[in-house]
Amino acid sequence: MTALIDSLETDHEGYLMSRDSWSQPLAVELAAADGIELSEAHWEVIHFLQEYYENYEIAPAIRILTKQIGKRFGKEKGNSKYLYELFPKGPAKQACRYAGLPKPTGCV
Amino acid sequence: MFDTLVGIAFSLAWLWLVCGIAYRVSVWLGARSRFLIPLAPAPRSRVGVLGRLFLEVFTFRSLARANRTTWLASLAFHYGLLWTLVMHLRFAYEVLPIFIVPFIRFGIWATLALVTGLVILLLRRLLIDRMRYISSPSDYLHLVLLLCIALSGVLIKRVWPTNLFEVGEFFRGTFVLNWMPLPDHAGLIIHLSLVLILLFVFPISKLVHGVGVVFSPTFNQRDRS
């Protein structure tokens, strides 16, 4: 692990306790720990998630995410296959973790 | 003197049995029953609930779903026991009533069912790893106790007879606190001592399930939507 990750306060599943502790280098390191190198395409998703969270205080539903990514960045990106290629563990969970968003709770 | 002590013990045992069960029932009824938790699909009418309880109490319906061997062994044991208890009602009468005669006539089959059932239940508990895991010493001892009572009963009935009329006098006496002598018979004393233990254990052990099953909310509540 890295210095940034080691000093983090996370919940029991690795989600940040506070969004204030998020930074771009941290996201890079979190992804690297999973063997992912963040590309421009990843950042598009991460930034959208953060923007949505700013507005609605919750991560977007996967359907909203795909639709909005498609609208903003091109139709070919507006599907869950594309998002799963970027975030193999699932965009909802993995991308939210890199973006420093809390995990949605409930029957999801 | 000894006979009188045994007589007093039985008088106390009857009292203990009745009060013990009454106390247990009062504990159950005293607990609050706030929510409807019948096991669905549940009967919608009171008659339907009686039907459900009847099937559970007299046919062990849920057990039949679960495990055929246990079900058959339990049926054999419980009905064998019921039959035997009816036989023992002879001791309540000075003159043998006619309705008990067929029970006595075929009593050997009931005893056989009772003993076979108990042996299967005991073997099951001893041989299956899941059963061993969930069993406490008392779970085995209940079965062993019942088995010993049955076998000692067979002994005094078939092999080493005793004076049944005197036994009847003795028992009728225990209900009216008129303690009579017992026949001088070691086998009988063993049988009766074991029965005393059973009567003592019944209301304070899992044996009380026979009464408790009708108080189970999953069975006795109806679908009141």
Binding site: K67, V108 | A31, R32, S62, R65, Y133, S216
Partner: protein, 495 residues
């Protein structure tokens, strides 16, 4: 750090074989304790209290007086063993403490020690035990490996309901400072925001608007998903997963289509934007009441005359069996519909009265099987006929798809197996329990996939849908689509 560290290896079990006991097989399992902040928000101690032993025993004594079932179940078990091979968690894990009777005995042995004559005098003889630290740890561990699905009750000749014991165990644990993070956090969010997700009204409105757009694109019709519409006649309360997760969202869309086609003036509520009631799982009756109250309060403030519950298993149990007790009568409802209804009940009624038309040929590419959700199957009824919870969803399905295949009858209807994620276990830190617990369901499904080429598994519970879509791939069943019943109804609907 790695979020998927809990993902176990794929499970391949032999079909319907009772496992040999493997003691301690799941002893390493741990679901996170609720944080002090979460506990305290519900008025519970933040961490394990110093006098936990005495408080736990005292609370057990209170619960025995408050819950007749618990008291009777403590006394009547004969250890007959009928339940020992009936629990999906036992079948999947082989851990003996996942046998229902062994799970009950975690409390029963303590009950005997403290509340029975025999247990006070001869503890060893009757299996009475002290509540020591290892026992407390077992309580926490194994009461969180029970989904409270009540399958064992079906086979119990005494009618013992293990879920009542599990609920009591969890209630005591939370009361001494050991709540479960997953369930307690959710209960907190319902109380503070209105739903399990913590989705506030603007987000909810945004989702519904987006879905309306999607429906318009798909059908060309302006089908609405109204929120807080005070002119509506019907309040629909659905699990918040329907606003967020796949495949749940398609079920919500299907419901909207049905209600639109029938011309019903309905609404969702932002105050009662959650059907689920996790306080049932944790055995906390006061919380269960507070959550149920949100629904009746919303219904009354919106002035609706009907309440309809969406596809959620335990919500339906609460609505059908407990609502009346929890929040008092429904005199504000239409006398024709005097209690909360299930969406399946409603759709079925619309179908029968000809208000909607379903064309199964629109689902011609699908071979479907139905997974009875435990809380619906064994916790509630449906319609006004005994067994309606089995017949009504199936009648709807038969009208919506050309081919409905039944799984083995010892895994459906009253004997249905839990999906493995119910009762507050649908959390990543219990993934191993969830995958293994899904084994019996997966095996039954595998059989119909092989024999009848089943393509879709239909459920009417948000937990079942999430759980099965996550764990079926672990059982080599990634090709089976998990679907909402109302997704298929919506697709078959002639608009």
């Amino acid at each position: 750090m790695n979020a998927d560290k809990h993902t176990p290896d794929p499970v391949v079990g032999r079909y319907r074989v009772i496992p040999i006991l493997h003691e301690g097989a799941m002893a390493q399992t741990h679901t996170a304790n609720a944080t002090p902040a979460i506990q305290e928000a519900s008025g519970l101690p933040g961490k394990l209290v110093a006098d936990w032993h005495d408080r736990a025993i005292a609370r057990l004594g209170e619960l025995l007086k408050e819950r007749r079932g618990l008291q009777v179940f403590m006394d009547t078990c004969t250890k007959c063993g009928a339940c020992t091979d009936k629990c999906h968690y036992f079948l999947g894990t082989a851990d003996p403490k996942n046998m229902p009777v062994a799970r009950q005995d975690l409390i029963r042995s303590v009950y005997r020690r403290h509340f029975t004559l025999a247990g006070k005098l001869f503890p060893k003889l009757v299996g009475a035990r002290d509540l020591d630290k290892p026992m407390l740890e077992d309580w926490y561990r194994y009461f969180h490996q029970c989904s409270e699905c009540r399958r064992c009750t079906v086979f119990c000749p005494k009618g013992i309901d293990t879920s009542e014991v599990t609920m009591a165990g969890r209630e005591i644990l939370a009361a001494i400072g050991l709540g479960q993070q997953y369930s307690q956090e959710i209960i907190g969010k319902v109380n503070s925001v209105g739903n399990n997700l913590g989705m506030k009204k603007p987000a909810l409105a945004n989702v519904l608007e987006s879905l309306e757009e999607d429906i318009l694109d798909e059908t060309g019709l302006a089908i609405r998903l109204p929120l807080d519409d005070a002119t509506a006649d019907m309040l629909v309360v659905t699990p918040s997963a329907d606003f967020f997760a796949e495949p749940h969202v398609d079920g919500l869309i299907g419901m909207a289509k049905v209600l639109h086609a029938a011309g019903i003036h309905w609404t969702l509520s932002s105050e009662a934007s959650e059907a689920a009631n996790f306080a049932l799982f944790t055995g906390q009756h006061d919380q269960m009441q507070a959550i149920a109250l949100r629904i009746s309060t919303a219904a009354q403030s919106l002035g609706v005359s009907r309440i309809v519950m969406g596809e959620c298993g335990h919500a339906w149990r609460v609505a059908y069996s407990f609502m009346d007790t929890l929040v008092g009568g429904f005199d504000y409802l239409d006398p024709e519909h005097p209690r909360p209804e299930h969406i399946c009940e409603l759709s079925h009624e619309l179908l029968q009265s000809g208000l909607i038309t379903l064309d199964p040929s629109r689902n011609a590419d699908k071979v479907v099987t139905f997974h009875d959700s435990c809380n619906v199957a064994r916790g509630a009824g449906m319609g006004n006929i005994k067994g309606g919870q089995f017949t009504i969803p199936r009648a709807l399905l038969r009208a919506s798809v050309p081919q409905l295949v039944e799984m083995s009858s010892d895994t459906t209807h009253q004997k249905t197996f839990c999906c493995g994620g119910g009762g507050g276990l649908l959390t990543d830190d219990l993934m191993e329990v969830r995958v293994k617990g899904a084994l019996p369901r997966a095996q039954a499904l595998q059989a119909v996939v092989s024999s009848d080429k089943v393509t879709h598994l239909v459920a009417i519970c948000a937990i079942c849908k999430t759980q099965l879509s996550q764990v079926l791939p672990q059982h080599d069943l990634a090709d089976v689509q998990v679907t909402s019943l109302h997704h298929l109804v919506g697709d078959a609907l002639v608009l």
